[in-house]
């Protein structure tokens, strides 16, 4: 199965690298929103809570289209039937999950420096900030990979994906915002509970998604 996962992963990265449509759109969205907020504020510093809210809203909405794209592309190009006949569902799920985590990581790597630079953010606890962003991204990518598959198989579009994803990832965004505020204000012991929460959430959602993916992927 590992070879199937690696083959799928290679294919997904190659296809994405050829067009770069999803990642370019997501990065452009993140850049435009960050600049727009900075421009509208005119240099006025925000409170740490507002800064944290902006960061997670930008990350979430920038990534949403790209995270869905990985499955809708298979449906649009009519390759999902071929995949379901030749590759085990679990291998498809793991490949898409790893791709989505990598995709989210790229978005974070570009958005966070932009966010810190343009919104005049001072990070007092860098380790906590990095861990929060990474674990929050991992939790978001883990949760929405399965939901993206469901949306694509249901024949839904971006709006349905946002509707079914937002409530599921809201606790993740909520906890991530709290931990980000702590990291901007200075270290706090409680904030590490949030990182543990995010990692536990990722583990639970990935495990259940791995078990259930075949029921979404194969036709009845």
């Amino acid at each position: 199965m590992i070879s199937d996962v690696l083959r799928q992963l290679k294919k997904d990265f190659l296809v994405e690298f050829r067009s770069r449509a999803a990642v370019n759109t997501a990065l452009a969205f993140a850049g435009i929103i960050t600049l727009s907020i900075s421009l509208a504020a005119g240099g006025t510093p925000f409170s740490t809570l507002v800064q944290a809210v902006f960061l997670w809203i930008i990350l979430f909405f920038s990534a949403m289209n790209g995270l869905l794209h990985i499955f809708t592309r298979e449906e649009e190009e009519q390759t999902s039937l071929f995949l379901s006949l030749n590759v085990p569902a679990e291998a498809v799920y793991l490949a898409k999950l790893v791709f989505n985590i990598a995709f989210f990581l790229v978005i974070e790597m570009v958005t966070c420096p932009l966010f810190i630079f343009f919104l005049q953010v001072t990070v007092k606890d860098i380790i906590l900030f990095v861990m929060t962003v990474l674990s929050g991204g991992l939790a978001l990518a883990s949760a929405v990979t399965m939901l993206a598959a469901m949306t694509a198989r249901a024949g839904g579009k971006g709006s349905l994906f946002t509707v079914i994803s937002f409530p599921v990832v809201l606790p993740v965004i909520w906890v991530s915002i709290g931990a980000t505020v702590e990291s901007l204000q200075g270290s706090s012991g409680d904030a590490w509970n949030s990182v543990v929460f995010l990692l536990a959430f990722s583990g639970a959602v990935t495990a259940i998604s791995f078990l259930l993916f075949r029921y979404v992927w194969y036709d009845e």
């Binding site: 198989r153 249901a154 409530p167 599921v168 809201l170 606790p171 259940i208 029921y215 036709d219």
Partner: protein, 225 residues
């Protein structure tokens, strides 16, 4: 129908006990009586969602899930749970206004139940989109199981990690019930009443589904003749 009779017995008893038997809570006064409806409604909503998740597991992993229409039964349970959640939010808001001065405070427990509400509204959106999709039963069941795994994270974990305006939960870290005996009895009777009400509604919805199925089959048979 036995459940129906029990509902007619327990529900009036719970209402009478809430207003006449239980004493008002110290500091909160008569407004505290809403607890006998708010807590059982919240319990009923969690129970309904747990049942919808369990029925979905049986639908996917059981041998005769599709014949027993377990996906439809899970859908009915989610519908009843959604109604209970809305009522729990309304009763909670009234109580919050009386206790804390405003209808909504974004307390972790309030936030949790709103997220629960949004999750199940999303479930109905997903279910509605797939009206002509042959995989509707499977996909909607997977969604219900997935959210059953996610829900404990913010129903039970988040309110314990973040400070809350709510009093200690009835089942708390010390495993003690900080309640007067009469209040405890009333709450128990009310919780049983709402559980029976859920079972009664569920039975009615499932019977209705069975009748609709039989009517559809008869119509199909006549068309074939």
């Amino acid at each position: 129908m036995k459940t129906g009779r029990l509902v007619y017995l327990f529900m009036p008893a719970a209402i009478l006990m809430a207003f006449l038997y239980a004493p008002p809570a110290a500091g909160l006064g008569e407004a505290s009586r809403i607890v006998y409806f708010h807590v059982p409604l919240a319990w009923g909503s969690v129970l309904a969602f747990a049942v919808s998740g369990i029925l979905s597991i049986r639908y996917l992993f059981g041998s005769n899930g599709s014949e027993a229409m377990l996906d439809m039964k899970a859908h009915h349970s989610a519908g009843i749970g959604l109604t209970f959640t809305v009522l729990a939010i309304i009763s909670g808001s009234i109580w919050a206004k009386m206790s804390w001065g405003s209808y909504w405070n974004w307390d972790p427990r309030e936030t949790s139940i709103v997220i629960l509400l949004l999750i199940y509204i999303s479930y109905f959106a997903l279910y509605g989109v797939m009206s002509d999709n042959g995989n509707r039963g499977r996909i909607s069941s997977v969604y219900l199981i997935l959210v059953m795994v996610v829900v404990p994270f913010f129903i039970f974990v988040v309110p314990r990690v973040y400070p809350s305006l709510h009093p200690d939960p009835i089942i708390n870290a010390e495993k003690k019930m900080n309640m007067d005996m009469k209040m405890r009895m009333t709450l128990l009777v009310s919780a049983v009443s709402f559980t029976l009400l859920y079972v009664y509604f569920m039975g009615m919805r499932n019977r209705l589904m069975g009748i609709e199925k039989k009517i559809d089959e008869k119509i199909e048979n006549r068309r074939e003749i």
